[in-house]
Symmetry: C2
Subunit: 163 residues, 2 copies
């Protein structure tokens, strides 16, 4: 298949210098401050963004080497498929986080609820609009009864090793 | 900045042969069936996915040429910043959709609520876990009072032209 080439549009800055210790979900990083600096050329794209309370950040897991198609999640003792979890070591290591926008100062966006490593390359910013999402009954598969643990669990080193 | 290289892990198939007519949000494509075929090498990564009712699909807007940092959305008469909307003509044209998983047959995933063009390259699959998301008050910026229109609005040709 063809290759797809993206370029970072900015850099995400957080208190986490390495993957160990990073909250494994945004709600575990609740209230933690981070900011991103957008490349100046993209500044006009920020118009109207300040009105949104929540943003989806798409970014590249730059510290992730290779991938595992199955791995043991933090919240479980069974290896799970990589597409059934959010582990960074994915075939295309794209991360997705919901953050609360604090304020925009020029090309710098300040936000809360960080779960990325400092220096993470930013790929895209999208406004978060829950109305667009389905309101059907939601089944959580292997995460049923485990997702609450995500608010207190932090990353250890299990996704740092290469295959 | 460095370049980031991804490879499609599969192809998304939908009833839409071109961008014109595509629902502009998944809720507008409500009930419409699509499927994706995963490259066989990634099959082990699907383990445990069948237990989830909803999936997030990340994909490449392969028909999108160039980008506009500001454009007029379908639901508005004012040009808005590209990062404050979901338009496909983005600096990194990554799409994100929530779909309802119907069933998995080998390397084929059947799902509902499509809003992608047929032949769209798939980048990643993530399980949708709403508990991970914040429950704060949500502000919708320029979309306030307009997002309901997304359930009935379909794409015209405004994002097809290049700059």
């Amino acid at each position: 298949m063809q290759t797809i080439i993206y370029r970072p549009i900015g850099i995400i800055h957080t208190p986490f210098q390495e993957q160990v210790g990073v909250p494994i979900q945004p709600t575990a990083g609740r209230g933690l401050h981070g900011y991103l600096t957008l490349e100046p050329e993209y500044l006009p794209g920020l118009k109207d963004l300040a009105g949104f309370s929540h943003l989806l950040l798409l970014y590249h897991f730059h510290l992730s080497e290779g991938y595992s198609l199955q791995a043991q999640p933090y919240m479980d003792e069974t290896p799970r498929g990589v597409f059934a979890m959010r582990a960074p070591r994915r075939p295309n290591p794209i991360g997705l986080s919901l953050v609360r926008l604090e304020r925009i100062e020029g090309a710098t966006l300040h936000f809360l609820d960080v779960d990325m490593v400092d220096g993470t390359p930013l790929l895209d910013i999208k406004p978060y609009v829950p109305f667009f999402r389905s309101t059907d009954e939601i089944r959580l598969g292997w995460l049923t009864g485990k997702s609450r643990a995500a608010t207190t669990t932090h990353a250890d080193d299990r996704f740092l090793t290469t295959e």
